[in-house]
Amino acid sequence: MTYSIVARCPRTGQLGIGVASFSMAIGRFCDGAVRSNTGVTLTQGFPNPRNNYLAINLLGQGHTAGQALATLIVNDARGDYRQIAIVDRDDNAVIHSGGKLRPWAAHRIGKGYLALGDGLAGPQVVEAMAARFEGTAEADLDERLLAALEAGRDAGGLAGVRGRLPERSAALVVWGNRPHNEIDLRADLHENAIAEVRRIHADYKPTIAYYDERARNPRNAITGVEFAENLKKQQRKETA
């Protein structure tokens, strides 16, 4: 009961994840999932919490994405229950969808990206995610990941034994060339978690450059409160 898009931006080399789930705080499972200039991975379904770290370490040591995936599967007595995605810095995208995931479990493989999920309304969910991701190739990676999640939700999203299930948590993660994330936004418990991450993203994105500059040049920085107020004024002007 989770769907995600795991991708590398072919223009910038950024690596990222968009993920939404019926479970709380799905963003926890993005921990250790990305390393700059190395790759991005995610294990979902019935996740194995050690997988992200192992997969990224394997890629970092020089193993191919295919061998990293094979290693994760044999390293786990419950591999049938895991859905594991890996994309490396050469745009190799590999996936394992175990046979015991909740139906519908499905995935789509593209160049440098994967759309995947289990407990879905149907395979059209990952198809819609992949189509939206492909159709927004000119946009920034964070925007493409978020748009793909929205497309998955609008194509039916999650379904359990009693029908449609809400996305109660969501996360958006993007790394650039630094040893930490550029964007890492979450809604941990919300009835419309993807819309909540969209709301936060709209306000957050303009602040990235501000916080970066403020750290490098604190002597001339305006305060965060001033920046937020200026931004609000500007947004009001734009909508007026």
Binding site: R28, D31, G32, H180, L185, R199, D203, Y204, A215, R219
Partner: protein, 235 residues
């Protein structure tokens, strides 16, 4: 403006951080805690690379005190930084540069540090510490959240004489494994500390279920049925 508590649980050795601020998504700073190594949480005019650097130095064997000297030597704007570091031997340091503005400061305890900037006054840091010490036998995540609530209830953040809301909040606790035991966030909400309290309470009801589902998925019931059983219990 931000206030934080960092700690090493004296009973379990777990490391944790609790933080809240006017800025969005303070919990994105997940590089600030490393299992079996320590905590380094910087704020005010923070450089993002400093926490991973400090943790790398801790892992190499440097003391927190030595790390402060090395960070100071390599930073022309060290006066604008605020941070705290704890290692696995309970060595604790904190630094509040004079450029961090009014009011900014810190308190260092035997296995924790509380610090903030853009605060209503020193009573906020005192409130963080009092909250943290309120239930010494409680799990670390509870103590971290009590600390944030203590800071908030003591006046929280202020600039130009105006109270500023805590718009994001975060607690993270790590034990020996890479995967964090607790990592819960509120990224944009005018009452983020209260919202984090709601989410932590809810998460605790799910915690054993989520863990069992990862460890042995063969016996896991569908989550929507687990939720229905929780609702029945509550009714």
């Amino acid at each position: 403006m931000t206030y934080s508590i960092i700690a090493r649980c004296p009973r379990t050795g777990k490391f944790g951080v609790g933080s809240t601020t006017f800025s969005m998504a303070c919990g994105r700073r997940n590089e600030s805690v490393r299992p079996n190594v320590g905590v380094s949480k910087s704020q005010a005019f923070y450089l993002r690379h400093v926490d991973p650097l400090a943790l790398n130095m801790l892992a190499q064997g440097h003391t927190p005190q030595q790390i402060v000297r090395m960070l100071a030597a390599d930073d022309a704007d060290f006066d604008y930084r605020q941070f705290g570091i704890i290692d696995r031997e309970n060595n604790v340091v904190a630094h509040t540069g004079p450029g961090c503005g009014k009011w900014a400061g810190h308190t260092v305890g035997p296995y924790y540090a509380a610090y903030g900037n853009g605060l209503a006054g020193p009573q906020v840091v005192a409130g963080i510490v009092a909250g943290f010490l309120k239930q010494p036998d409680a799990p670390l995540e509870d103590r971290l959240l009590l600390a944030l609530e203590g800071g908030r209830d003591a006046g929280g953040q202020e600039s130009n004489g105006v109270h500023r809301p805590e718009r994001s909040a975060w607690i993270r606790v790590v034990d020996q494994l890479d995967f964090p035991e607790i990592d819960l966030r509120v990224d944009l909400d005018d009452r983020s500390v209260a919202e984090l309290r709601r989410i932590l309470a809810e998460f605790k009801r799910y915690r054993d279920y989520y863990r069992a589902r990862c460890d042995d998925p063969r016996n896991a019931i569908p989550e929507e049925e687990f939720v229905a059983s929780l609702d029945q219990k509550a009714a």
